[in-house]
């Protein structure tokens, strides 16, 4: 339940920021949306079992599902790279970071 609430709050904040005109705000909005997506991925593996998914340490009954964790790790790396790129785009060009002003 708390996971679902956190995802909801993150998506609400992210959606608000992504709908702004400035590129920096859009970038921050995507950081929030990315976190929300990562939490969705994590919750797909179930939140009840939290043991380390290492066969020699934890037994199968308590070990967490390693696959969603691998998904999240991959997604975090990609989101990190894109966030940096978006901030670069916001800084590039002269003047402000407005996305609407085309002329």
């Amino acid at each position: 339940m708390s996971l679902a609430l956190v995802v909801g709050v993150l998506v609400a904040g992210g959606t608000f920021l992504v709908l702004q005109r400035g590129m920096v705000r859009i970038a921050f909005g995507f950081v929030l949306l990315g976190h929300a997506a990562n939490l969705v991925l994590l919750s797909a593996g179930g939140a009840a079992r939290r043991g380390e998914p290492l066969l020699s340490i934890a037994d199968l009954a308590t070990a967490a599902d390693p696959l969603p964790q691998a998904f999240v790790l991959t997604a975090i790396v990609i989101a990190f790279a894109i966030t940096i790129y978006m901030l670069t785009l916001a800084g590039a060009g002269e003047g402000d970071d407005d996305t609407e002003d085309r002329r």
Binding site: I26, F30, G45, F71, T74, Y85, A92, E100, R102
Partner: protein
Amino acid sequence: MSPALLPLVVIVPLLSAALLAVARHVEVLRRAVLLGVSAFALAFGTVLCFTSWDGVVIAHAVGLWPSGIAIPFVADMFSALMITVTALLTLLCSMFAIVSGDDRRPYFSALVLMLSAGVYGALLTGDLFNLFVFIEVMLLPSYGLIAVLGGRDRLPAGRLYVAMNLLTSTIFVAGVGLVYGTAGTVNIAELAGAAAESSAVAAAASVPLIALSVKAAVVPVHGWLTSTYPATSPALTALFSGLHTKVAVYAIYRIYAVVFDGGTAYTGLILLVLSLTMLVGVFGAVGQESMRSILVFNMVSGIGYILLGVALFGPLGLMAGIFYLVHHMIVKASLLLSTGAIEVSYGTDRLGSVSGIARTEPLIAAAFMGSALSLAGIPPFSGFVGKVAIVKAAVDEQQIAIAVVAVVVSLFSLMSVLKIWRGVFWGRAHEDEVHAVSARRPGALLTHAPRTLALPGLVLTVVTLGIGLGGQGMLVLSEQAAAGLLDVSGYIEAVIGS
């Protein structure tokens, strides 16, 4: 071909991209590697087509992990066909970019190779999460390319492009999470028919499908495409039009056919959306005033045609859709490269800024006219075969209204390309005017386009003519690709049994 060789088509472009990122100042090496690797992928795709003849599916578990854990690379006729066509387009667009000077921009060759690696990976992978990763591998270089190449609108366009694609990727990956949560796997072969059996899986799997529809620019979410593509360079527009939206279309075909088993619950709604896509795209095209905007709007309309195949489903519908997909990729790239040759030489793509191109540039005019007629569906070009197949599939499925829309839309698309013909190719060639226009680009006072710039478009026009005249051959290939989507037992056996 041995299945173990499948990952090569991703590894080779990726490693070459790394090489070119380091050795980017050696022009000969840069060009040779860019063209050589694209030619390699073209040969690879052709061999794959022979390998997957008659429904043979080959699969390789990357890293030799046991099946169920491994990420499978799977090749059947559909993916082999797509790899062949995308490699051909990458090769010709790269040639165009070398002549037009785009490849002198920093990292251009490396980014294009990285992009193509992502495309081939997305076409081969048999895993939903891996599909997300390869789509990102395809998109990240595109973000860089779109921000570097193009006119003064490129930065706003780049920002819009990144924001839109990142949003859909986020939705896609969240959808993959939902699929994993409901079905317990993201392996496409293991998901076969899962959405048809369980409505929870169907709801989860529809989230990635919706994200892919945005990436494919289906109306009403097509606005990002029509406002970003015309802002970049001509070579890049042609490359993106051939690759990006079409990978999304490929994934829609694959997921809908395998995971949903071609469910018919929402066929009416889907057909309505696709009719709107065809109509809005073509009416948008008729209203535009520059060559590339017209062609990009026509692309939206073409997406509607292509996806009709998967909406109608059945052997005939899928065959028609896959045939039209191949035809559309080739023709659209040809048109964008021909008009791009004019834009690069004369410095403008506004209708009416230049005239009489038919006299001064007969090669470009011939290439454009051939592909324009093909786009509109006039025999003997491939568009005729494709449109007849689509209309016949619609009539067979009792969807008369869809058939009527498809015919009406092709008349309007003829009108939109004739608008380009009238605005640019017809009329007298005014030498003074041509000089005045090209003088706007300092250092590029060209009155004629070099022949090598017209060549890529012309090659693709010849290909569409060939597919039109020898329509039976491509129809057989499309039929085999469609059969692989209808009967997925070969696909499943190759992945899970290997």
